[in-house]
């Protein structure tokens, strides 16, 4: 197998995930497990490469929840002309923040009424660079209806599409380590944070540190969306659980003042 630089990121991240999942202390010990196919590791390894790669409109039930419930609550709390801030962290190569922007254009009737700021952050500068470029392959676009691809992307070569400049300009990219307050704080307070499928890779202590760190980046009454296999209730008691028709999300309780 050979991989481009962009793929290299996925390879490294997927291998790191498998090392965490198998409690491997070194790459050498993980590689030994893989070669011996202990506990069916070859299949896990292959699955890690084929099912976890991110793509546009992934877990779109949360996007539906965003426009059906979450933004309505935030607008009701903040007023009819307030700015709305949304954070995608980690954003990887940009599929999630760009999906949010496209989803808002297609599904939120107030999209021209509110100043919308979408911030997208990742610890990895290589993926941020890739995200800023906004060039995507067929796999990343597989869930998007063809008319959406035609409307928001320009074909570049046989299997590559460039997202429109206005969408690139709609997302601000920053580097951040979510366990470091000095890196998360400068991003400010958000109405909705998407933090999907990253906390599962942390140990319990780091998970709680990260979650409570992100709490400080939420407006009182602001929401945080996790991956569908993740539960904040098992991570930190600070958040309220909110069950909507399309998704379960967590909220920083409104009304209390931040000290």
């Amino acid at each position: 197998m050979s991989f481009s630089d962009a793929k290299r990121y996925y390879v490294e991240r997927r291998i790191a995930e498998r090392m965490v999942a198998t409690a491997a202390l070194s790459f050498a010990s993980y590689f030994a497990r893989l070669r011996m196919d202990l506990d069916g590791e070859v299949e896990h390894f292959v699955n890690a490469f084929t099912v976890n790669e991110t793509y546009f409109y992934r877990e779109d039930h949360q996007l539906r929840c965003l426009t059906t419930n979450l933004l309505a609550e935030r607008v009701a709390a903040k007023g009819p002309s307030a700015a709305i801030r949304i954070w995608s962290v980690p954003c990887s190569t940009g599929e999630e923040p760009y999906s949010i922007a496209i989803w808002l254009l297609e599904n939120w009737p107030l999209v021209d009424r509110h100043e919308i700021e979408i911030v997208a952050s990742d610890i990895d500068t290589a993926v941020l660079e890739k995200a800023r470029e906004g060039l995507f392959g067929k796999r990343a676009l597989m869930r998007l209806p063809t008319e959406i691809v035609a409307k928001y992307f320009t074909p570049e070569g046989p299997d590559a599409w460039r997202i429109l400049a206005d969408l690139r300009d709609s997302v601000r990219f920053t580097q951040v380590n979510i366990v470091k307050p000095e890196e998360t704080r400068p991003n400010g307070r958000f109405d909705v944070v998407f933090c999907r499928n990253v906390l599962i890779y942390f140990d319990d202590a780091s998970r709680r540190i990260a979650a409570e760190n992100l709490y400080e980046n939420l407006e009182p009454g602001g929401f945080i969306c996790l991956g569908h296999t993740e539960s904040m209730s098992r991570i930190s008691p600070l958040f309220e659980v909110r069950r909507f028709a399309d998704a379960i999300v967590y909220r920083r309780p409104p009304g209390e003042r931040h000290g």
Partner: protein, 128 residues
């Protein structure tokens, strides 16, 4: 479509808003260009003729109403280009200020795609 070839300039500092209006207009056959503020809009209209200008009010560098007032002081025919003002404000003083600046029509955001194309057709003189 009667809209085919009609040229619209969307002037708004928010990229998402420009894209939103552009998507609605292009799906009905309009050709759309964009400007980020009044200053950039002045440059665009000096380079090419437009059938309609869709102009936001609150923008950095040059706001929408200042732009419209400057437009109306330019030589004909460019000075007569129809202007649709889009704004989050909806007070009587806001309508009056837009009219005084020389706007043809004023609509309060949110603007639906249907409203936008209907107004564009009207202001471009396309029979319904």
């Amino acid at each position: 479509m009667a809209e085919a070839g009609k040229r619209v300039l969307v002037v708004d500092d928010a990229a998402l808003v420009r894209l939103y209006y552009r998507g609605a207009l292009e799906s009905h056959g309009y050709e759309v260009e964009e400007a980020l503020n009044g200053l950039e809009a002045l440059e665009k209209i000096s380079g090419a003729a437009f059938d309609l200008l869709v102009v936001d009010v609150n923008m950095p560098q040059m706001d929408g109403l200042t732009f419209v007032a400057k437009l109306r002081d330019l030589p004909l025919p460019v000075a007569a280009t129809p202007v649709l003002i889009t704004s989050t404000e909806s007070g009587p003083q806001d309508f009056a200020a837009a009219r005084a600046a020389g706007a043809n029509f004023y609509i309060t955001k949110p603007v639906t795609p249907e409203q936008l194309v209907a107004l564009a057709a009207m202001l471009c003189g396309i029979a319904p």
